[in-house]
């Protein structure tokens, strides 16, 4: 099996880092949206849970349905992000394994060179 060079590895590592950054940014945005949705719910039901805007039953049901839709959107977004993250995690671990294998390979080569070096010191 051919081990890739260190130059291409650094490019892959950069790409994975960028991938993690983009996932983190999306997660941050989603967490803000979740916080806003939670605030919206709390504002609708009021501090004493007495619905300060006096909504009708139909309005309450409409609000519930809008909450369900928003939460479904969160779920879909999180599902996609989770898949991206899982792939990125697998690739990162794979890269780490390759890097450690190539480093070991370099060490072995250096050791072999030292062993075979019969022109080392000329007394």
């Amino acid at each position: 099996m051919k081990i890739p060079s260190m130059a291409s590895l650094s490019t892959k590592t950069d790409t994975l880092e960028k991938q993690f950054e983009s996932i983190a940014l999306e997660e941050k945005t989603l967490s803000n949206l979740m916080q806003f949705e939670a605030d919206k719910m709390l504002a609708f039901i009021g501090r004493k849970r007495d619905f300060p805007s006096n909504p009708s039953s139909a309005e309450i049901i409409q609000f519930n349905q809008s909450c369900v839709q928003v939460m479904e959107s969160f779920l879909n977004a999180e599902s996609v992000l989770f898949k991206k993250l899982t792939k990125a995690v697998h690739l990162t671990l794979h890269e780490k394994n390759i890097q450690s294998a190539s480093l070991n390979d370099e060490d072995n080569n250096e050791a072999e060179l030292l062993e075979n070096d019969d022109q080392g010191f000329d007394f």
Binding site: A24, E27, K28, L30, S31, N32, M34, Q35, E37, A38, D39, M41, L42, F44, I45, G46, R49, D50, F51, S57, A58, I60, I61, N64, Q65, C67, V68, M71, E72, F74, L75, E78, S79, L81, F82, L85, T86, V89, T92, L93
Partner: protein, 210 residues
């Protein structure tokens, strides 16, 4: 990632508040409207717990990269976990007396909530303070609420269904599990040659007990 998990917990906590508010409003609604409220409630709890699952699995994936020794995301539940556990327990207590028109919807909602409760009781059971039995007053209060409120058998009796797993049992089992692991550790120390890691853990536990 921790901030995101906390935001999701806040959203679910707000959802529980909405359920509490809906309970009083529901009484003055028509039967068809009540069914819609029940259905939306079940959907929200269902989606909320799924959302929570994705987030906890993402945390585990991140922990895999970071290494469990340093920056362990699975242990980053922090103080909000205790408060969230209280919210879940309160929601369970409240929904046990919720007059669902369709008992199947009621069962689904309770099942989801028990899963969440089990997850957080497991997280808290792995907390160091919890393992050595050093409960805070806040923990003691939710333990009492749980012991009093988690009467699933009455709920099942009302709905005429078979009894399912008791959350009280789950909680006690996780606690026993923690103590058993400590006991096993001490036993292995007494009977076998102990490793350096075990030695450190036993010493730390003994120091805390003193």
């Amino acid at each position: 990632m921790k901030r995101r998990t906390e935001a999701a917990a806040t959203l679910l906590a707000a959802l529980f508040q909405l359920l509490r508010a809906l309970k009083s409003k529901r009484a003055s609604m028509k039967p068809s409207e009540r069914r819609l409220v029940d259905y939306d409630l079940a959907m929200m709890v269902h989606i909320g717990s799924d959302l929570h699952k994705y987030l906890s699995w993402s945390d585990l994936s991140i922990a895999e990269i970071q290494g469990f020794g340093e920056g362990d995301c699975t242990r980053s539940t922090g103080d909000y976990a205790e408060k969230f556990m209280q919210d879940i327990n309160y929601a369970i207590t409240m929904l046990q007396s919720w007059p669902f028109d369709n008992p199947l919807i009621g069962r689904q909602v309770m099942k989801r909530l028990y899963e969440l409760q089990s997850y957080y009781s497991d997280q808290l059971a792995h907390d160091d303070e919890f393992i050595i039995g050093n409960t805070t007053s806040e923990q003691a209060s939710w333990e009492q609420k749980l012991a009093v409120g988690a009467d699933i058998h009455s709920f099942n009796h009302e709905q005429g269904t078979r009894p399912t797993s008791n959350p009280d049992d789950n909680y006690i089992l996780t606690k026993i599990g923690s103590w058993t692991s400590v006991k096993k550790l001490n036993d292995s120390h007494a009977h076998q040659g102990r490793s350096v890691k075990q030695d450190g853990q036993v010493t730390a536990i003994e120091r805390r007990r003193i």
